[in-house]
Amino acid sequence: MKLTFSIRGVGALLVAAALLFAPLILAEQNYLLRVLITGITYAIAVYGLNIILGFTGQLSLAHGGFFGIGVYTMGLLTTDYDWSFWSALLAAIVLTTVVGFLAGLLALRTREAYFAIFTMALGLIIYMVISRWEDVTHAYSGVLGVKLPEDIGPLDFSEPATYYYLLLVFLAAAAYVTYTLRVSNVGRRLLAIRTSEDLASSIGINVGLNKQLAFTASAGFAGLGGALFASAEGFIGPNSSSIDLTFELLMFLLVGGVATVMGPIVGTLLVLMLFEAFQDFQAYRFILLGPVIIALVIYAPQGLIGRLNQLTFYWKRRRAAAQKTAVGAPEQNSPADPHNEKTEVR
């Protein structure tokens, strides 16, 4: 097997190493570890959003709602119905995937701005149901005592660091699926749809079907993130399904970079850490964060990771071009070159 040096690979490894060693470095700072744990559950949902928005190019504003369905499936099943964490987790994934599939059947009949409006309405409906259906969801009283995962052998998930590593496994799975999308025909079909639906269908891509699958999978990841969030927090309320959350997820993705592998996790954690750094300013922190986001949108609209990928791409190209001219200098007068004949005559 050939081991090739790749800047992007090294970058991904650095992020992975930082995440792996974080509990050791933050051993005394449980608060920051909790922020990381919350951040990773969000990031898993952002990976979901990345499939439909990043790859397929459809702006879904229902993802806060899907996240909320995951949160409440986990929250209610493990408390009122006394299910185990693992069965509730499975139920949360299945339920959000099914809801995503059914919602997609309707939502994907619309395009562009109409799709965004439709899914925003859908997200609001989910929020309404959760915040008003008191008999089932307890509405604003919230749900207390959401279960942590049951012990597996020696692994005790009530230990934050252990739970953190469990989350990392799910996060790695989400990132791996995204990587797979980037380098496979499945992802190429989705990216084709993002660029031009007409061109995509002209080469035989079933645009409707692929969008439907992407939206369904995307909702499933949001539900997974929500279910893990509920378990990590222990106490949940309707705000975990609000439209504000949708826009936060969207911001995480745009900061990190759409259709990138590392964008969702880097964007999510970076913005959350900025939130924490500006904590003392409370509500005013958005006055500080606002310009940061605006600057980012202007100078790196493809997001941080997208911008880095672009820079490495240009750097590699320049290096390749430099090598080519160094090696190929004597061949510059190719037969196709009209000046070639003149030089021969001369």
Partner: protein
């Protein structure tokens, strides 16, 4: 017959964009569709490739009825097309564009990709080989890593052809392939079209440049105001009085020779 079109019509509101058009595309031949601006050529293209649904008539491809099939199914059946305004995945490299064409026909699912099944790896390898072969065939291999939006117009046109060929079509329909390129480039493009036919792919094209059409086409369909006004070999069409009238207007035949007359009124000439 590879494709049979019978009585095809399309109405937009009260406008008859295409009306009762019938013609055949024979395997291994080059069929051209010509006509003045607004004659319904592009509409006809969109009808037989599934981008529009016909109001009446039928399209048969390889003895199967494909009338009204959606575009992706028509493409999967083996009809590829290019667009008048060259369409590419402009933010991707030229190679990635052609890979997208391979990806479209791929049967592997996300499950295959996640677990790297043998089918997945086989397909990835085959796609890469096919891409390189097609870039070589269309003469744009050296541009493979360039971003599609940044390469010269002629390269984009060739890349669009490579992308269409990546879907392994039996019929390739080119919508104004020579629009906006120079005479030299047009001649080279004519060469490429001959090579595509030699590869075993039947070609149909809408084109304004008569020099290209007259030297390439085996059969020509002439449309005017949505109707078929002539159908035959270049020689037959060239001397057809209705064609001359459509291009020159009645009463002006006397002033120029017929062939020059057709060229004179052709938009896009010398562009």
């Amino acid at each position: 017959m590879l494709m049979q079109v019978r009585g095809l019509s399309k109405t937009f509101g009260g406008l008859h964009a295409v009306e009762d058009v019938s013609f055949d595309i024979a395997e291994g031949e080059i069929t051209a569709i010509i006509g003045p601006n607004g004659a319904g050529k592009s509409t006809l293209f969109n009808l037989i490739t599934g981008f529009y649904r016909p109001t009446a008539g039928s399209v048969t491809f390889k003895a199967k009825d494909i009338t009204g099939h959606p575009a992706h199914r028509t493409a999967q059946a083996g009809v590829a097309r290019t667009f008048q305004t060259t369409k590419l995945f402009e933010h991707s490299s030229i190679a990635e564009n052609v890979l997208a064409g391979c990806a479209a026909g791929s049967r592997s699912t996300l499950i295959d990709a996640v677990f790297r099944t043998p089918r997945h790896r086989r397909e990835e390898k085959a796609s890469m080989d096919k891409t390189l072969e097609l870039l070589e065939f269309t003469g744009i291999l050296e541009f493979k890593d360039e971003i599609a939006a940044n390469v010269p117009h002629e390269v984009q046109k060739r890349a669009a052809v490579a992308l269409a060929l990546a879907t392994e079509p039996e019929l390739l329909l080119l919508d104004e392939p020579a629009a906006g390129i120079t005479e030299d480039e047009t001649a080279r493009f004519g060469q490429l079209i001959r090579q595509i036919v030699a590869r075993g792919v039947t070609v149909g094209l809408v084109e304004h440049k008569m020099s290209l059409i007259m030297s390439l086409a085996d059969n020509i369909l002439v449309l005017d105001q949505g109707r078929r006004i002539a159908w035959g070999t270049p020689e037959e069409v060239r001397s057809d009085p209705r064609v001359i009238e459509a291009y020159l207007g009645a009463g002006s035949q006397g002033s120029t020779s017929q062939e020059d007359g057709i060229q004179e009124r052709t938009p896009g000439q010398g562009a």
